[in-house]
Symmetry: C2
Subunit: 498 residues, 2 copies
């Protein structure tokens, strides 16, 4: 069996190289590619995606995986993980023929580019036909993978293996229930006239912001020998083998706009940089799920980056980069970065209302896939749910349905993983603090290593050895629940009311 396992590894690693080349084509498209190159790029991505799919479904490889999967007991536990996870993904993939895969990749690349134009002009009509194609195609994809289950269930598992719509409805349902009174309190606070602090607004030259954001990422533990920070319209992180790239976007008048994108993407990159490099290209050396990935970005962005201890550390450094901040106090900064109030744009919303943005998207995308909602009715449905959950309506589609690239990238079933990430993150931080002692004093002096080390050991290094729910249970000693998150958010509201 060990011969066969070695051949299996020799098949997986070139697949990882192809995936890395694909990631580079996509990274470049979002950062440096000249606009006139978009058609060629869509075709290149389509060709490589199809080649990768061919490799992943090559009969010799498939036979090898199927054979190894029947003999898991003859493999080491680590080898068994690699085979089990590969088999699970293979079963999904072999349901799709190369032509469908090529069509899907090309459609996503085109739609992403159309989305940029639609968002700039605020014209949902430009995107609608592409989105309709995407919905139809994803429904077809789900049907090919498993015609016996509701299509949305099947799509969801692409991002969160082992998750079910029922389980998700339970966690997000509890979360929605717990959020409702908190959001009511936020609205009451607004009616009492709570003003938005402008303590962190001003003029922050972009070049200085670039240095500042890079310093923040590095201080959290981001390794620049194996990573980069660049600009992109929509911040993202990606890995090209052992090369982990994050992007952010800058607003000259708003320091926190780039800062929290950077910390968020740094959280993703720290996870990737913490995976086992000796297991490169194998499931053991790959991230567990999008929900676990988001738990890492959210933990650093919200639970660390918006803590009082962090601002005691960060403010003096911010003042060095931006002398206009001299008179700001850590408490004032904290009021800015923890402020919470219903708003229109998910990526600019606060830690509390954020989850309502996700619940809205979760419900709408389910409805589109189930055929209960036509793409053309999406802007209207969006506005109605915003009214119901947050008490506000978008004034146009740029502030509504056009704000996110996800659906235009074909990512349906992806949004719920953001709130799962928030749920996991709060639970993990509780466990980390129980293990390594109070984090506040460490963070105040800029020492993020004890926390990062705990995450490396309990989350990152595990790769795909455990499924998301098992990983959370192993790391925290409990099954996942929104309890820790709701407690944390409750404390936030108290702080704001004080």
């Amino acid at each position: 069996m060990s011969d066969k396992y070695a051949r299996f590894v020799d098949c997986l690693r070139p697949q990882a190289d192809l995936a890395a080349a694909l990631s580079l084509l996509e990274w470049d498209q979002e950062t440096y590619m000249p606009e006139g190159a978009i058609d060629g790029r869509a075709r290149q991505i389509g060709t490589l995606a199809s080649l990768l799919h061919e490799r992943q479904t090559d009969p010799r490889f498939v036979e090898l995986v199927d054979e190894l999967a029947t003999r898991l007991d003859s493999l080491s536990p680590e080898q068994a993980v690699d085979v089990r996870e590969t088999k699970w993904r293979l079963d999904r993939r072999r349901a799709l023929d190369p032509e469908l895969v090529r069509k899907r990749s090309e459609l996503h690349a085109q739609a992403r580019s159309v989305w940029i134009a639609a968002r700039e002009s605020g014209d949902f009509g430009l995107l609608a036909p592409y989105l309709q194609h995407i919905v139809d195609l994803e429904r077809e994809v789900a049907g090919r993978i498993d015609p016996s289950r509701p299509p949305y269930d099947v799509l969801l598992e692409e991002f969160e293996p082992g998750a079910t719509t029922d389980g998700l409805e339970q966690v997000l349902g509890q979360l929605r229930q717990g959020l409702k009174p908190l959001i009511d309190r936020l609205r009451a606070r607004l009616e009492r006239g709570a003003a938005l602090s402008r303590a962190l607004h001003g003029h922050f030259p972009i070049e200085a912001q670039k240095r500042f954001n890079l310093m923040v990422a590095v201080s959290l533990g981001f390794d620049l020998r194996k990573g980069r920070l660049d600009e992109a319209a929509h911040p993202f992180s990606t890995s090209l083998g052992d090369d982990h790239r994050i992007t952010t976007r800058y607003d000259v008048s708003n320091l926190t706009y780039a800062l929290y994108s950077t910390i968020h993407e740094t959280g993703h990159a720290l996870y990737e940089q913490g995976l086992d490099p000796t297991a490169f290209g194998l499931p053991r050396g790959q991230s567990c799920s999008l929900g676990i990935h988001e738990s890492q970005s959210r933990l650093w962005e919200n639970l660390i980056g918006r803590s009082e201890a962090f601002w005691h550390y960060l403010l003096p450094l911010a003042q060095e980069h931006f002398p206009s901040l001299q008179s700001v106090t850590a408490q004032e900064a904290l009021q800015v970065v923890t402020d919470a109030r219903p708003s229109l744009i998910r990526t600019e919303s606060d830690e509390i209302t954020y989850n309502m943005h996700i619940i809205l998207r979760f419900e709408l995308e389910q409805a589109m896939i189930d055929g209960r909602l036509a793409v053309s009715d999406l802007p209207q449905a969006w506005a109605e749910k915003m009214q119901e959950y947050l008490g506000i309506r978008p004034h146009d589609d740029r502030a509504g349905v056009l704000q996110d690239v996800h659906w235009a990238s074909g990512a349906i079933g992806y949004f719920p993983t953001y709130s799962l990430g928030n749920v996991y993150a709060a639970q993990m931080l509780e466990a980390a603090e129980a293990a390594v002692g109070p984090l506040g004093p460490q963070i105040e002096r800029g020492d993020f290593h004890p926390l990062l080390d705990w995450l490396r050991r309990n989350v990152h290094r595990r790769g795909q050895a455990l499924r998301p729910e098992e990983l959370v249970a192993a790391a925290t000693g409990r099954t996942s629940s929104p309890k820790a998150l709701l407690e944390h958010l409750g404390r936030r509201v108290e702080f704001l009311e004080s």
Copy 2:
């Protein structure tokens, strides 16, 4: 046959997409890749090169090409070009097995990275074992392609199809003979104490230089909708489909250092941007040879960029970007950029002595491949030839054998194409001027279109319809000879002596 030709096209285009992805991996390695990612990148390049080679030698594709090649008369003349050129390259490629191709690509990627370290530390010993592997492997490659011919002949044709060592020795031999008295006159002028003008030296902020170089590239006709200008240690141009990227490097105290690299690479990019986009991925839509490519870069860099008319156009713009140039005259600038004297670094050498640098490399690489020169003796042999042809010796290997990346990239047989390019360029400019009238007045007012249009029609649009020698004859009405170049260089020496 038209069905089969269509299938042939459907095979070629995905190959071009893979080649574009490879070019992006290489471009990124030289521009933005973090240094710790080099091992993974070498492996990714190896994997994609091997995949491309698999496609190019896929039995179904090979059979199709072989069959079409026996029926050229049943195809249109354009289709026949595509098949003929594909067959010629295929015959070379199918001589190499995928494992050899993978080994070769990985070795080149590693050696390029080692070359950077060796060049920084001036330690040829670091590079030597890699270079020895490259020489051995290239010899093996040549033997597999055609064991009946001298290996150097076989390698040469990779870059200049239809060229022979004999033909090259004749052209470069005439050139060397013609250069000898010119270089003697340059040395006599130096002995008379000709000082190096510093009229274009000073302080030129890098950001202003970036804007200036971009403006120059665009004014010559470079289309930024389908291209970029970036920084790299060693300037190069590359095409990722219809996306043409050039790089340059900056010296804050020397304006011309970046300027002429930029113009050179712009010449390459103008050629690529002038190819027929409807023939994408087919030989008709691809550049003819490296010699023809160099003719385009050299024509713009030397024959246009160092002309009096060009400086009448450029100087006022340079003065806008760099106010310290206010008191410089076009004549003074011209004396700087046409100055010629023996020097050590090829890329910084002048139009006249440059060709001796090439002849030296041509002779040394031939000797290495033929086994007459050991890699370990290369620094010594380099120094001796420098003494013989230019009367100077490098003080260390950074100024000698370590200055160029070519051999470390596995490009043996490549250097001669630079001088071929100079030869072709002078001959083409003579023909262009005969066709469109005196270029001076057009260039003085920044109108480069008549010349670019002539090049588009007579060179660029032809793709690989003609072999290099045929293309030169069709465009200029004469077979190639160093006569026009030597006349031009003779006029340069006269100007310098005046």
